[in-house]
């Protein structure tokens, strides 16, 4: 707020004294110090003048008619609660302890006892003005900081969180200790229909703690969208935060990827309290404990780092929390702790609203205690994600003429290929590269998501079954996928021979195009006729944990063909705009 006096360079002083002589003397001294002076001869008039002129300094007598100095001081101090400290000095001849104490109690910033020399008076004015200037500076800084925090908050909720995926199904609590929360929650959909979720807690809170939030959100979203695996995303986020943040700023974070396709959850906890997997009855099925220092501390992830894989049912719920919930304190100084958290979460899971029940429980526990740390939680349903992907692909709409083979006879508009062998196969994921080529040449479009799924499934089949020689039979039981994943990790780490060759060619057709995908591997191949025969014999009601990838690819492609005993697969994908 700009006051009357701030608009001018000359400072204003108000002298309130019933003695005209005193007013005159003080006015002269103040004018010599560069003040413009107004005078009032009783307390009530003094208050009125204060309201009218908003002076920079008030000198107040104590004994006056109508309203005395103490009362006038209280009124003035009650009015000046906004931004500026208007220093008020009592001028009196009462040299008693009582007068001094009452002056300060009434809101006075100092007292000057008569008689005093002009130089002592001027010195007092200078010192009090210095304090007042300092106060003004602090206020200005505080306001600037508040504005920054508000802007950051706007950015956070408007830009970062508004872009989260499936905000209607994934429950989020974000209750900041200060305006700006050091906690960040991100959700994004991967091209294969997996849902990636992250809950992060930057060191401390407030603006300082959140400088990493925007690059973090960008990396998480862009890499998820391009189809990088969760582990690749975590590796990159760690690397980026290490480069970006000073040594004492880091991010404790939990990552979860829900794959309905594999009936599994992939998790990684770097410095957060345990994440919880609950059954629909609210029983704890799994606890995702921290296995790595927070991100941004080390230049690279520790060498033994890996994702945890857990089998999930579609009715399960995965919950990630920051330490703000379990460390929330009540008046007696007790913490909320995990036991209360588990009880509230169980109630929430059964009743269907974890966020509501959790907030209720924390608030009931803490009562009116001020919140010390950011409180945040993410509640992710483990089922219902796959339908979303297949459902969004309207396969029936392709005109028949596009499916004719004529388009392949002409040479492709472009051709791209990559061959990976040996150790490179275990560290390089070629799918994001392939997708990035397509996006760059043909432009970004939603239907590339289906192509991504086809590429991923076919590449993984070639790598897993061809090069690594893994058998799908491993996935036969409900926990089989976890076993399968472990064995896969083991074989990948020891891989030093074999290859996978990936070829893409694009043939434009009117209003669309046709992408031919050809993948060749160094494996033994497999008996395709047996595969189809087994599939026909399998009861459709039976819970099937393998082969779903190929079913999906068949739905998305217009042709799928295995050659050379199954060591080469060729798929054709047609799109229309």
């Amino acid at each position: 707020m700009t006051t009357f006096s701030e608009k001018r360079n000359i400072k204003l002083a108000l002298v309130v004294d019933d003695s005209l002589m005193q007013c005159k003397v003080l006015s002269v001294l103040l004018k010599e110090e560069g003040y413009r002076v107004f005078t009032a001869n009783d307390g009530a008039r003094g208050v009125a003048m204060y309201i009218k002129y908003k002076p920079d300094l008030v000198l107040m007598d104590i004994n006056m008619p109508i309203m005395n100095g103490y009362e006038a001081a209280r009124k003035i101090k009650g009015l000046s609660q906004d931004n500026s400290l208007c220093p008020l000095i009592f001028i009196t001849s009462m040299d008693t302890d009582q007068a001094f104490i009452e002056s300060i109690d009434a809101g006075g910033d100092g007292i000057l006892v008569r008689p005093f020399s002009p130089n002592v008076f001027k010195a007092k004015i200078k010192s009090i003005q210095r304090i007042s200037d300092l106060y003004g500076q602090v206020k200005t800084l505080q306001q600037a900081q508040q504005k920054d925090a508000e802007l950051a908050e706007q950015l956070m909720s408007g830009v970062i969180e508004a872009r989260n995926f499936s905000r209607d199904r994934i429950g989020i609590i974000r209750q900041a200790a200060e305006i700006f929360s050091g906690d960040i929650q991100l959700t994004a959909l991967a091209p294969n229909g997996d849902v990636n979720v992250m809950l992060g807690d930057f060191t401390g809170h407030g603006l300082r703690s959140s400088i990493g939030a925007i690059p973090l959100a960008e990396t998480f979203r862009a890499m998820t969208k391009k189809g990088f695996s969760l582990f690749e995303i975590i590796t990159q986020v760690n690397h980026q935060l290490y480069d970006l943040l000073p040594a004492d700023l880091f991010l404790a974070a939990g990552f979860v990827s829900i794959s309905n396709h594999n009936a599994s959850m992939y998790g990684f906890n770097a410095g957060l309290p345990d994440g919880y997997l609950f059954s629909e009855l609210g029983d704890v099925k799994y606890q995702l404990a921290s296995s790595h220092p927070p991100l941004g501390v080390l230049p690279n992830l520790l060498p033994d780092s890996q994702l945890t894989v857990v089998s999930i049912a579609e009715t399960d719920r995965m919950i990630l929390i920051s330490d703000g919930i379990v460390e929330a304190r009540n008046e007696a100084g007790d913490m909320f702790e995990f036991e209360r958290f588990e009880r509230a979460a169980k109630k929430g899971v059964i009743e269907g609203d974890v966020c509501k029940d959790m907030l209720q429980a924390v608030n009931d526990f803490c009562k009116d205690m001020p919140q010390e740390d950011d409180i945040s939680l993410i509640d992710i349903p483990c089922g219902g994600w796959e339908q979303l992907l297949v459902g969004s692909h309207d396969f029936e709409s392709f005109p028949d003429k596009l499916l004719s083979d004529t388009s392949i006879k002409t040479p492709p508009a472009w051709h791209w290929q990559l061959s990976l062998s040996g150790k490179r196969l275990s560290v390089i994921n070629p799918i994001p590269m392939a997708m990035s080529q397509i996006n760059e040449i043909e432009g970004h479009a939603d239907h590339w998501q289906s192509l991504y799924t086809i590429l991923t499934e076919l590449f993984i089949n070639s790598l897993d079954h061809g090069v690594l020689g893994l058998s799908s039979d491993l996935k036969a039981s409900a926990d089989g996928f976890v076993e399968y994943f472990k064995e896969r990790e083991h074989r990948l780490r020891n891989l030093d021979e074999g290859f996978v060759e990936l070829q893409l060619s694009h043939h434009p057709v009117p209003n669309g195009g046709r992408v031919i995908i050809k993948i060749k591997d160094s494996g033994q191949g497999f008996d395709i006729t047996k595969y189809y025969r087994d599939r026909e014999l399998a009861s459709p009601q039976k819970l099937k944990l393998s082969g779903r990838g190929i079913d999906l690819v068949e739905q998305l492609c217009d042709s799928l063909d295995y050659q050379n005993d199954g060591t080469v697969v060729e798929a054709s994908y047609v799109w229309t705009s």
């Binding site: 060191t203 040594a247 921290s290 520790l302």
Partner: protein
């Protein structure tokens, strides 16, 4: 003051004690405790025996101490964390970054 420092006679060993809550309010005192210890090969012992609580900014401050020690070819050892403080160190997996002695 809740940050105390004890230096061994040959000034090779510096022990820092934190009394009570270890949080951002100790930032300056904590830094002052080690900032001018720039001899090569010093061992900084952070004694958390009397530390009742530690927050994430304290973890950050420990990392700064670690950086300082390592840039002067020294090392950091954390000693005697209470159960609750140890829990925080454990969640942050700090035993994988530096030595923690019970």
């Amino acid at each position: 003051m809740s940050v105390k420092k004890q230096v061994s006679e040959n000034s090779k060993k510096i022990e820092i004690f934190i009394d009570g809550r270890f949080d951002f309010s100790l930032h300056q005192h904590f830094r002052d405790a080690y900032a001018n210890c720039t001899e090569k090969g010093q061992v900084f012992t952070l004694n958390l025996g009397a530390t009742s609580y530690m927050d994430s900014s304290a973890l950050g401050m420990i990392l700064l101490l670690k950086d300082h020690a390592e840039s002067h070819s020294g090392s950091v050892v954390i000693t005697k964390p209470s159960e609750s403080v140890n829990k925080i160190l454990e969640i942050a997996q700090f035993h994988r970054l530096l030595t923690i002695e019970q």
